[in-house]
Protein backbone atom coordinates (compact mmCIF):
# COMPACT_ATOMS: atom_id res chain seq x y z
CA UNK A 1 0.00 0.00 0.00
CA UNK A 2 1.64 3.18 -1.17
CA UNK A 3 0.12 5.44 1.44
CA UNK A 4 1.39 3.27 4.25
CA UNK A 5 4.97 3.26 3.28
CA UNK A 6 5.22 6.91 4.15
CA UNK A 7 6.74 7.79 7.49
CA UNK A 8 4.57 6.33 10.19
CA UNK A 9 2.90 8.80 12.48
CA UNK A 10 1.58 6.10 14.79
CA UNK A 11 4.10 4.59 17.20
CA UNK A 12 3.50 0.89 17.65
CA UNK A 13 5.32 -1.42 19.96
CA UNK A 14 7.49 -3.73 17.82
CA UNK A 15 6.03 -6.73 19.64
CA UNK A 16 2.58 -6.30 18.15
CA UNK A 17 3.92 -5.97 14.64
CA UNK A 18 3.45 -8.94 12.41
CA UNK A 19 7.12 -9.45 11.70
CA UNK A 20 7.38 -13.20 11.84
CA UNK A 21 5.21 -13.94 8.84
CA UNK A 22 6.14 -16.41 6.18
CA UNK A 23 7.61 -14.78 3.08
CA UNK A 24 4.93 -13.81 0.61
CA UNK A 25 4.45 -15.62 -2.67
CA UNK A 26 3.63 -12.98 -5.19
CA UNK A 27 0.42 -13.76 -7.07
CA UNK A 28 0.96 -11.48 -10.06
CA UNK A 29 2.23 -14.37 -12.26
CA UNK A 30 -0.96 -16.32 -11.51
CA UNK A 31 -2.91 -13.22 -12.47
CA UNK A 32 -1.06 -12.96 -15.78
CA UNK A 33 -1.65 -16.67 -16.39
CA UNK A 34 -5.36 -16.26 -15.69
CA UNK A 35 -5.46 -13.28 -18.01
CA UNK A 36 -4.00 -15.43 -20.81
CA UNK A 37 -6.49 -18.23 -20.08
CA UNK A 38 -9.31 -15.68 -20.08
CA UNK A 39 -8.24 -14.32 -23.46
CA UNK A 40 -8.14 -17.89 -24.76
CA UNK A 41 -11.65 -18.54 -23.43
CA UNK A 42 -12.84 -15.33 -25.06
CA UNK A 43 -11.43 -16.39 -28.41
CA UNK A 44 -13.02 -19.84 -28.11
CA UNK A 45 -16.40 -18.31 -27.27
CA UNK A 46 -16.03 -15.88 -30.15
CA UNK A 47 -15.60 -18.75 -32.59
CA UNK A 48 -18.85 -20.22 -31.29
CA UNK A 49 -20.80 -16.98 -31.12
CA UNK A 50 -19.69 -13.37 -30.95
CA UNK A 51 -22.69 -12.65 -28.74
CA UNK A 52 -21.45 -15.10 -26.08
CA UNK A 53 -17.98 -13.55 -26.26
CA UNK A 54 -19.52 -10.12 -25.73
CA UNK A 55 -21.39 -11.26 -22.63
CA UNK A 56 -18.20 -12.90 -21.36
CA UNK A 57 -16.11 -9.76 -21.86
CA UNK A 58 -18.66 -7.46 -20.24
CA UNK A 59 -18.91 -9.93 -17.35
CA UNK A 60 -15.13 -9.81 -16.88
CA UNK A 61 -15.27 -6.01 -16.93
CA UNK A 62 -18.12 -5.86 -14.42
CA UNK A 63 -16.32 -8.27 -12.08
CA UNK A 64 -13.02 -6.43 -12.37
CA UNK A 65 -14.61 -3.02 -11.76
CA UNK A 66 -16.72 -4.27 -8.83
CA UNK A 67 -13.69 -5.82 -7.15
CA UNK A 68 -11.26 -2.97 -7.77
CA UNK A 69 -13.58 -0.23 -6.60
CA UNK A 70 -15.15 -2.41 -3.86
CA UNK A 71 -18.45 -1.19 -5.26
CA UNK A 72 -21.14 -2.74 -3.13
CA UNK A 73 -24.84 -2.27 -3.69
CA UNK A 74 -25.48 -3.97 -0.36
CA UNK A 75 -23.39 -1.39 1.49
CA UNK A 76 -25.25 1.42 -0.25
CA UNK A 77 -28.49 0.27 1.36
CA UNK A 78 -27.13 -1.10 4.61
CA UNK A 79 -24.56 1.43 5.78
CA UNK A 80 -26.78 4.51 6.16
CA UNK A 81 -28.70 2.81 8.94
CA UNK A 82 -26.08 0.47 10.34
CA UNK A 83 -22.87 2.49 10.33
CA UNK A 84 -24.03 5.97 9.34
CA UNK A 85 -21.89 6.12 6.22
CA UNK A 86 -23.45 7.17 2.93
CA UNK A 87 -20.31 7.36 0.78
CA UNK A 88 -21.23 4.24 -1.21
CA UNK A 89 -24.90 5.27 -1.35
CA UNK A 90 -23.97 8.55 -2.98
CA UNK A 91 -21.76 6.87 -5.55
CA UNK A 92 -24.55 4.43 -6.42
CA UNK A 93 -26.76 7.47 -7.02
CA UNK A 94 -24.09 8.88 -9.34
CA UNK A 95 -24.10 5.61 -11.28
CA UNK A 96 -27.91 5.77 -11.53
CA UNK A 97 -27.71 9.30 -12.91
CA UNK A 98 -25.07 8.53 -15.56
CA UNK A 99 -26.73 5.31 -16.66
CA UNK A 100 -30.14 6.97 -16.83
CA UNK A 101 -28.78 9.53 -19.28
CA UNK A 102 -27.03 6.88 -21.39
CA UNK A 103 -29.99 4.49 -21.43
CA UNK A 104 -32.47 7.21 -22.30
CA UNK A 105 -30.26 8.44 -25.13
CA UNK A 106 -30.14 4.94 -26.64
CA UNK A 107 -33.89 4.43 -26.25
CA UNK A 108 -34.71 7.80 -27.67
CA UNK A 109 -32.48 7.08 -30.66
CA UNK A 110 -34.39 3.86 -31.36
CA UNK A 111 -37.69 5.68 -30.99
CA UNK A 112 -36.63 8.38 -33.46
CA UNK A 113 -35.60 5.73 -35.98
CA UNK A 114 -38.98 4.10 -35.64
CA UNK A 115 -37.51 0.94 -34.11
CA UNK A 116 -38.81 -0.94 -31.06
CA UNK A 117 -37.29 0.53 -27.87
CA UNK A 118 -34.69 -1.85 -26.34
CA UNK A 119 -34.61 -2.90 -22.70
CA UNK A 120 -38.34 -2.45 -22.10
CA UNK A 121 -38.36 -5.92 -20.54
CA UNK A 122 -36.86 -4.27 -17.46
CA UNK A 123 -39.84 -1.97 -17.05
CA UNK A 124 -41.76 -4.46 -14.95
CA UNK A 125 -45.18 -4.41 -13.25
CA UNK A 126 -45.33 -2.82 -9.81
CA UNK A 127 -47.20 -4.93 -7.29
CA UNK A 128 -46.92 -6.17 -3.73
CA UNK A 129 -44.54 -8.79 -5.09
CA UNK A 130 -42.08 -5.98 -5.92
CA UNK A 131 -42.14 -4.71 -2.33
CA UNK A 132 -42.14 -8.15 -0.70
CA UNK A 133 -39.43 -9.47 -3.00
CA UNK A 134 -37.27 -6.39 -2.51
CA UNK A 135 -37.77 -6.56 1.25
CA UNK A 136 -36.77 -10.25 1.42
CA UNK A 137 -33.84 -9.51 -0.84
CA UNK A 138 -32.76 -6.63 1.40
CA UNK A 139 -32.74 -8.84 4.50
CA UNK A 140 -30.92 -11.61 2.66
CA UNK A 141 -28.14 -9.49 1.22
CA UNK A 142 -27.27 -7.93 4.56
CA UNK A 143 -27.02 -11.20 6.48
CA UNK A 144 -25.27 -13.03 3.63
CA UNK A 145 -22.80 -10.15 3.22
CA UNK A 146 -23.43 -9.44 -0.46
CA UNK A 147 -26.07 -9.16 -3.14
CA UNK A 148 -26.10 -11.12 -6.40
CA UNK A 149 -23.22 -9.35 -8.13
CA UNK A 150 -21.42 -8.99 -4.79
CA UNK A 151 -21.77 -12.71 -4.09
CA UNK A 152 -20.29 -13.60 -7.50
CA UNK A 153 -17.46 -11.12 -6.98
CA UNK A 154 -16.66 -12.50 -3.53
CA UNK A 155 -16.65 -16.06 -4.84
CA UNK A 156 -13.92 -14.81 -7.17
CA UNK A 157 -12.08 -13.32 -4.21
CA UNK A 158 -12.05 -16.67 -2.44
CA UNK A 159 -14.86 -16.45 0.12
CA UNK A 160 -16.16 -19.89 1.08
CA UNK A 161 -19.16 -18.35 2.82
CA UNK A 162 -20.32 -16.73 -0.41
CA UNK A 163 -19.96 -19.99 -2.33
CA UNK A 164 -22.46 -21.41 0.13
CA UNK A 165 -24.79 -18.43 -0.20
CA UNK A 166 -24.54 -18.67 -4.01
CA UNK A 167 -25.68 -22.31 -3.84
CA UNK A 168 -28.67 -21.34 -1.72
CA UNK A 169 -29.30 -18.31 -3.91
CA UNK A 170 -29.76 -20.75 -6.80
CA UNK A 171 -32.01 -22.98 -4.68
CA UNK A 172 -34.07 -19.95 -3.61
CA UNK A 173 -34.40 -18.89 -7.25
CA UNK A 174 -35.64 -22.32 -8.22
CA UNK A 175 -38.08 -22.35 -5.32
CA UNK A 176 -39.54 -19.00 -6.42
CA UNK A 177 -39.65 -20.18 -10.05
CA UNK A 178 -41.72 -23.11 -8.79
CA UNK A 179 -44.14 -20.76 -6.99
CA UNK A 180 -44.07 -18.16 -9.74
CA UNK A 181 -47.43 -19.12 -11.23
CA UNK A 182 -49.16 -18.27 -7.96
CA UNK A 183 -47.37 -14.93 -7.62
CA UNK A 184 -48.05 -14.07 -11.23
CA UNK A 185 -51.78 -14.64 -11.15
CA UNK A 186 -52.57 -13.59 -7.59
CA UNK A 187 -50.22 -10.64 -7.10
CA UNK A 188 -48.12 -9.49 -10.04
CA UNK A 189 -50.99 -9.40 -12.56
CA UNK A 190 -52.79 -6.90 -10.31
CA UNK A 191 -50.10 -4.30 -10.91
CA UNK A 192 -48.93 -2.66 -14.08
CA UNK A 193 -45.60 -1.34 -15.32
CA UNK A 194 -45.04 2.40 -15.18
CA UNK A 195 -42.59 3.88 -17.64
CA UNK A 196 -41.79 7.42 -16.52
CA UNK A 197 -41.64 8.95 -20.07
CA UNK A 198 -45.29 7.92 -20.49
CA UNK A 199 -46.13 10.28 -17.63
CA UNK A 200 -43.63 13.12 -17.89
CA UNK A 201 -42.50 12.84 -21.52
CA UNK A 202 -38.94 11.87 -22.38
CA UNK A 203 -37.16 15.03 -21.32
CA UNK A 204 -39.45 15.50 -18.37
CA UNK A 205 -38.80 11.97 -17.13
CA UNK A 206 -35.02 12.41 -17.25
CA UNK A 207 -35.20 15.75 -15.51
CA UNK A 208 -37.58 14.51 -12.80
CA UNK A 209 -35.40 11.46 -12.18
CA UNK A 210 -32.16 13.47 -12.05
CA UNK A 211 -33.76 15.91 -9.61
CA UNK A 212 -34.83 13.03 -7.36
CA UNK A 213 -31.29 11.62 -7.49
CA UNK A 214 -29.82 15.05 -6.71
CA UNK A 215 -32.20 15.46 -3.77
CA UNK A 216 -31.29 12.00 -2.41
CA UNK A 217 -27.58 12.77 -2.84
CA UNK A 218 -27.81 15.97 -0.81
CA UNK A 219 -30.00 14.28 1.80
CA UNK A 220 -27.49 11.41 2.10
CA UNK A 221 -24.58 13.76 2.62
CA UNK A 222 -26.43 15.84 5.21
CA UNK A 223 -27.55 12.68 6.99
CA UNK A 224 -23.97 11.41 7.22
CA UNK A 225 -22.77 14.69 8.73
CA UNK A 226 -25.59 14.79 11.26
CA UNK A 227 -25.05 11.15 12.16
CA UNK A 228 -21.28 11.62 12.66
CA UNK A 229 -21.89 14.45 15.10
CA UNK A 230 -24.57 12.46 16.93
CA UNK A 231 -22.34 9.38 17.22
CA UNK A 232 -19.45 11.44 18.57
CA UNK A 233 -21.67 12.90 21.26
CA UNK A 234 -22.76 9.45 22.32
CA UNK A 235 -19.18 8.29 22.76
Amino acid sequence: MSENETVSSIQRSPRSRASTRKPKVNQIPFGVLLLLITIGMGIMLNIQSSNLALFFITGICFGFILQKSRFCFTASMRDPYLTGSTSVTRMVLVAFAITTIGFTAIKYGYLQSGLPIPGMGYVVPISFATIIGAFLFGIGMVIAGGCASGTLMRVGEGFTMQILSLIFFVIGSLWAAHDFEWWKFHVISKGKPIFLPDIFGWFGAVIVQLLIILFLYIAAEKYQKARTIKDQQNN
Binding site: S8, A18, L82, R154
Partner: protein, 75 residues
Protein backbone atom coordinates in the same frame (compact mmCIF):
# COMPACT_ATOMS: atom_id res chain seq x y z
CA UNK B 1 -1.14 3.53 26.36
CA UNK B 2 -2.69 0.21 25.44
CA UNK B 3 -2.66 -1.72 22.22
CA UNK B 4 -5.75 -3.78 21.61
CA UNK B 5 -5.87 -6.34 18.83
CA UNK B 6 -9.28 -7.04 17.32
CA UNK B 7 -9.39 -10.24 15.28
CA UNK B 8 -11.89 -9.89 12.44
CA UNK B 9 -10.35 -12.51 10.16
CA UNK B 10 -13.03 -14.30 8.19
CA UNK B 11 -15.68 -11.74 9.08
CA UNK B 12 -17.65 -10.21 6.24
CA UNK B 13 -18.89 -6.65 5.96
CA UNK B 14 -20.17 -4.88 7.97
CA UNK B 15 -19.10 -6.97 10.97
CA UNK B 16 -15.47 -5.69 11.16
CA UNK B 17 -16.62 -2.08 11.07
CA UNK B 18 -19.29 -2.54 13.75
CA UNK B 19 -16.87 -4.44 15.98
CA UNK B 20 -14.25 -1.73 15.52
CA UNK B 21 -16.78 0.99 16.29
CA UNK B 22 -17.88 -0.76 19.48
CA UNK B 23 -14.36 -1.62 20.61
CA UNK B 24 -13.06 1.88 20.09
CA UNK B 25 -15.72 3.25 22.42
CA UNK B 26 -14.24 1.15 25.24
CA UNK B 27 -10.70 2.39 24.71
CA UNK B 28 -9.05 5.30 26.49
CA UNK B 29 -7.54 8.34 24.87
CA UNK B 30 -4.22 7.52 23.18
CA UNK B 31 -4.90 3.79 22.94
CA UNK B 32 -4.27 1.92 19.72
CA UNK B 33 -6.78 -0.42 18.13
CA UNK B 34 -5.39 -2.94 15.67
CA UNK B 35 -8.12 -4.45 13.51
CA UNK B 36 -7.03 -7.59 11.67
CA UNK B 37 -9.09 -8.19 8.54
CA UNK B 38 -9.05 -10.29 5.40
CA UNK B 39 -12.13 -8.80 3.80
CA UNK B 40 -11.14 -6.49 0.96
CA UNK B 41 -14.13 -4.20 1.46
CA UNK B 42 -13.50 -3.77 5.18
CA UNK B 43 -10.00 -2.68 4.27
CA UNK B 44 -11.67 0.29 2.63
CA UNK B 45 -14.61 1.07 4.90
CA UNK B 46 -12.92 0.67 8.31
CA UNK B 47 -10.17 3.25 7.55
CA UNK B 48 -12.70 5.49 5.83
CA UNK B 49 -14.91 5.55 8.90
CA UNK B 50 -12.00 6.12 11.29
CA UNK B 51 -10.62 8.99 9.22
CA UNK B 52 -14.07 10.52 9.05
CA UNK B 53 -14.18 10.43 12.84
CA UNK B 54 -10.85 12.23 12.90
CA UNK B 55 -8.61 9.46 14.25
CA UNK B 56 -5.10 8.68 13.04
CA UNK B 57 -5.28 5.67 10.76
CA UNK B 58 -2.82 3.41 9.03
CA UNK B 59 -3.36 0.35 6.89
CA UNK B 60 -0.71 -2.30 6.63
CA UNK B 61 -0.87 -5.24 4.25
CA UNK B 62 0.54 -8.02 6.37
CA UNK B 63 0.01 -10.88 3.93
CA UNK B 64 -1.74 -11.64 0.64
CA UNK B 65 -5.27 -10.48 1.26
CA UNK B 66 -4.70 -9.75 4.95
CA UNK B 67 -4.55 -6.32 6.46
CA UNK B 68 -4.11 -4.60 9.78
CA UNK B 69 -5.87 -1.32 10.27
CA UNK B 70 -4.24 0.62 13.07
CA UNK B 71 -6.43 3.27 14.64
CA UNK B 72 -5.16 5.70 17.25
CA UNK B 73 -7.85 7.08 19.50
CA UNK B 74 -6.76 10.67 19.40
CA UNK B 75 -9.91 12.24 20.79
Amino acid sequence: MNEVVLDCMGEACPVPLIKAQNKLKELALGDLLIVQIDHSCAMKNVPEWARKEGYNVEVEEVDDGEWEVIIEKTK
